[in-house]
């Protein structure tokens, strides 16, 4: 990756499928998943990787409403803009 790595976390009210499609479009591949428990709730945490850029997406498991996946991006400024734009941010 060229340039400096930046950090950004966003919480968006869009379905997980849309987030995944957006990440796939810009070349991020799912590398690993884990079930975590935080704030007394179960979440699926997915790690997406492209080169040395990483994005993690955490979404609450089950029938929670509203669903607002947390997206944490560690990558270039351009990657952050693309992801934010892709999920309608």
């Amino acid at each position: 990756m060229k340039g400096v790595q930046r950090l950004k976390s966003i919480s968006v009210l869009v379905p997980l499928e849309r987030v995944q499609a957006s990440l796939s479009e810009i070349g991020f591949l799912l590398a690993d998943t884990v079930t975590i428990v935080a704030d007394g709730k179960f979440w699926t945490k997915m790690l997406y990787v492209r080169g040395d850029e990483t994005i993690s997406v955490s979404e609450e498991i089950g029938d929670a409403y509203p669903k607002d996946p947390i997206i944490t991006i560690c990558g270039s400024k351009m990657t952050i803009s693309k992801v934010v734009k892709g999920v309608g941010g």
Binding site: R6, L7, K8, V34, T35, D39, I61, G62
Partner: protein, 184 residues
């Protein structure tokens, strides 16, 4: 020293703000293995419980979980559960007989005399296979039996993704010191 708890979004955004302000800081990380019966099959949401459905059944969340087939829990010393065994009783949700090991992950950052932390538990991944096992209940010649195994999650998926310039120190224990000097 005040202690502030954050969720993942808040913690990462706080670090981003610190990075943008060029403030010097250090992130501490503590990862510890726990097997204290905190998480059992009755309290799991349905999508997580589905991963165990080969060996156990329940009506709904917080209902009693029973073994569907005899199985060996290889993580807990080869503990054998018989068909119909009560694995997690609805009347005793805090004390499951079948439990999931996990890593407790704690991230913290100290700035301006305060500690900001984010903590979560990462459950081990279950794998259910059929193996030939021997033993007192399975006979000397051995029998095919379901075996429940747990795999620890990879470190890369436990980590919070941070830029390379952020230094992360792994620690074993954090001692919180109460500073009364400002009262005088």
């Amino acid at each position: 020293m005040p202690l502030y708890e954050c969720n993942e979004h808040q913690f990462v955004e706080n670090i981003r703000r610190l990075l943008e302000s060029n403030e010097k800081f250090l992130v501490n990380r503590k990862i510890t293995l726990h097997d204290d019966a905190r998480f059992g099959p009755a309290t799991m949401p349905d999508p997580e419980f589905k991963r165990y459905e080969t060996i156990c059944a329940r009506k709904s969340v917080n209902s009693t979980v029973y073994a569907k087939v005899p199985f060996v829990d290889s993580f807990h010393g080869g503990r054998m559960h018989d068909e119909g065994d009560n694995l997690h009783a609805a009347s005793s949700l805090l004390f499951p007989r079948m439990s999931v090991p996990y890593y407790r992950v704690e991230y913290s950052v100290n700035v301006w005399g305060g500690t900001y932390f984010f903590a979560f538990d990462a459950l081990f991944d279950p794998e259910i296979i059929i193996e030939k096992r021997t033993g007192r209940r399975l006979g000397n010649s051995g029998s095919l039996v379901h075996v429940l195994k747990y795999h620890p999650p990879e470190e890369r998926v436990l980590a919070i993704n941070l830029p390379k310039e952020v230094m992360v120190f792994d620690v074993k224990h954090m001692i919180r010191v109460i500073d009364h000097s400002s009262n005088f």
